[in-house]
């Protein structure tokens, strides 16, 4: 038995390790995806006043702070049994759209884009945002920077701070929007709609019109037949901030639709000894191991899943692109790499939704908070993080001190699916007697990069950049070959 170790994974927040075991014939026998996840965040919350939770949880990492802030804020409202004013709900959603814009832009231009714009087999040294600029032209650099900045500035204008927000308070938000801030947010959001059009146009030109890329996207390497999950509004359209979580089976039939407080009726978590990160699964099917198909308990919660579970998008341009998407890749779509396209459709939705909210006649209403009066007990808040359905569940004593916290974070939902996807991709790509090239490793990495995974931790490394080591180890434990990324 040989093993290949990819550790740590590049272009992935935090530290991860992939081990690929080969049999005597040199074929993939098994894969392990290990995450030395941060320890004890739920414990860290215990003993804290509940109102502090929305300010503490964004510090889990710096990648999707607003998602945790939103899920936590909603859970705290539930703990206090308080209905927030309608304008507070809209302001929270507007703030959240800023993070969606920032995060989805980062993923496409810095992480996924290089695989397509430059090609999966391109030189590693150029496989980054500067490589895209070099290939597409200097003008795109300005667009990327403006897009990135607007996402952040929308958050800043609405909520004051973006990396570690202090916006959500029990019963609402900390401040109303001024007319001047509203005008700025509207201006930036409208510009973002134009930038989203440009980005979808670039994707169409570079990817959809390229038969070689479409062959990769629609080929067997990156397909995964598992169930889908995502938040939908009252008309079953994609919604990031509010609604009910809809689950569809592998054939596209609705099998669950639950409110935040009901999540434990639908989802349970499996533990494996080799990783700190749990494996959520659908209770309806039970934990079936790392298996695909109609009877598997494995599901995905990704941009692709959200489009699969929804009946459409709530804004016009996003809906137009959604229809083109369904017309091209079908529904339910099980093509993992189509997640990149789905993410850009979501980006358009976030930009359009930001314009809608910024121009909402109610958005300047100063009544942004309902002061809680009930005794705090227990509550659950759910939003769609960029990386999947995010659940925060808190229970407090009568003084509002947290006694128990449970978090199912976006990427965790996809842990089993990512593990399966890596095994499938490795099985197709690694062949007996074939050298494990850097390009081949990148194509295995593409299997999980589509999920935009985030396993934030404080891993620091020397030298240069996050390295990737691939070791070939024979049955006796002897290292027979090493591929190092330095």
């Amino acid at each position: 038995m040989k093993s290949i170790v990819i550790d740590p994974i590049t272009r992935l927040e935090g530290h991860g390790k992939i081990t690929i075991f080969l049999d005597e014939e040199g074929q993939v026998a098994n894969t392990y995806f290990q995450i030395p996840e941060l320890r004890g965040f739920e414990k860290f919350l215990e003993g804290r006043p509940i109102e502090e939770a929305p300010r503490i949880v964004p510090r889990i990492c710096g990648v999707c702070p607003a998602c945790h802030h939103m899920a936590s804020g909603k859970a705290v409202d539930a703990v206090y049994h308080v209905e927030i004013p309608p304008v507070a709900r809209k302001l929270r959603e507007l703030f959240f759209m800023g993070e969606y814009i920032h995060s989805h832009v980062a993923h496409f231009y810095a992480l996924a884009g290089p695989d397509f714009v430059l090609g999966p087999g391109s030189e590693k040294a150029k496989r980054h945002v500067l490589g895209i600029v070099e290939k597409v032209g200097l003008e795109i650099g300005g667009k990327v920077l403006t897009f990135r900045k607007h996402g952040h500035e929308i958050m800043r204008a609405v909520g004051g701070k973006c990396t570690h927000p202090v916006y959500n308070v029990p019963g609402g938000v900390s401040r109303p929007l001024t007319a001047e801030q509203r005008g700025e947010v509207e201006r930036m959001s409208r510009e973002c709609v134009e930038l989203a059009k440009f980005t979808l146009g670039l994707f169409a030109k570079v990817v959809l019109e390229n038969p070689a890329y479409m062959e990769i996207i629609t080929g067997p390497v990156y397909q995964l037949d598992v169930h889908d999950m995502g938040l939908v509004d009252e008309k079953n359209r994609v919604n990031f901030y509010d609604g009910r979580v809809r689950v569809k089976d592998t054939k596209g039939n609705e099998i669950a639709k639950y409110a935040a407080s009901e999540y434990l009726d639908v989802v349970a978590e499996h533990v494996e000894g080799y990783t700190y990160l749990k494996f959520p699964y659908l209770k309806k099917f039970g934990w079936t191991g790392f298996t695909e198909g109609a009877e598997s308990g494995v599901y995905r919660a990704t941009p692709l899943s959200r489009l699969n579970v929804a009946d459409g998008m709530a804004t016009p341009l996003a809906q137009e692109h959604y229809e083109a998407f369904v017309g091209t890749v079908g529904k339910p779509c099980k093509l993992t790499l189509a997640t990149h396209w789905a993410r850009l459709i979501e980006l358009m939705y976030a930009c359009e939704r930001a314009v809608e909210l910024a121009t909402d006649p109610e958005i300047l209403d100063p009544n942004v908070r309902t002061i809680p009066t009930a005794t705090p007990t227990e509550g659950v808040g759910i939003v769609e993080a960029q990386r999947g359905t995010l659940t925060h569940h808190y229970a407090t004593d009568e003084r509002g001190i947290i006694r128990k916290a449970n978090l199912i974070v976006g990427t965790t939902n996809n842990h089993a699916a990512i593990t399966l996807q890596i095994k499938k991709a490795a099985g197709h790509l690694i062949r007996k007697g074939q050298a494990v090239s850097e390009q081949l490793l990148n194509m295995i990495e593409m299997a999980f990069r589509a999920y935009d995974p985030c396993f934030s931790c404080a891993t620091h490394s020397l030298p240069g950049h996050l390295p990737m080591d691939v070791e070939l180890v024979d049955a006796s434990g002897r290292i027979t070959d090493v591929v190092r990324r330095r």
């Binding site: 935090g14 503490i56 710096g62 810095a110 404080a458």
Partner: protein, 162 residues
């Protein structure tokens, strides 16, 4: 005179990983010592990284980054200045977007005034994967020396005609 920005990076609730933030805080508290000789000094903290550092550094000529580092060559609490490209924590690598150096190059390519000179100070830490608001005693003890090292670098830059 060159405008200098100090940016401390870290996670404020991840024990020793917060040390970059604490060093920046120490520099901020003591900035009066050099305010007269180094006008326009910028001192910032960020718990993210990558291209998000662009939110802080526009208009500056020199950037001094301070972050925690797991380097087998360093004792816990030991300090080291790293040449460009050698030390990059995930925050400096910006593993979720673009690395700090790519981000600066991208901005420069668009005509933005961002630092062309970057110095990175690393503070040696052990593995840090458990949440805590405290640094370990040896890392805590290193903070004054790290603040002094940053001031030393500023003096060096100013003396060199910065």
């Amino acid at each position: 005179m060159k405008r200098i920005a100090i940016l401390g990076l870290g996670n404020s609730v991840l024990g020793d990983d917060s040390v970059g933030l604490r060093v920046a805080s120490g520099v901020e508290e003591a900035r009066d010592r050099i305010a007269a000789t180094v006008p326009g000094l910028g001192v910032f903290q960020d718990e993210a990284g990558g291209w998000q550092i662009l939110d802080h550094v526009e208009g500056f000529d020199v950037l001094i980054l301070v972050d925690a580092i797991q380097d087998p060559a360093l004792e816990t609490g030991q300090l080291a200045w790293y040449p460009r490209g050698v030390f990059r924590s995930p925050r400096i690598s910006g593993v979720h977007n673009a690395d700090v150096f790519q981000a600066l190059e991208l901005a420069r390519g668009q005509g933005l005034h961002v630092p062309g000179e970057v110095h990175v100070l690393g503070v040696g830490i052990p593995e840090s994967v458990t949440f805590s608001e405290q640094c370990s005693p040896p890392v805590e003890a290193a903070i004054p020396a790290a603040v002094a090292a940053v001031f030393g670098k500023i003096r060096e830059l100013v003396t060199a005609g910065g």
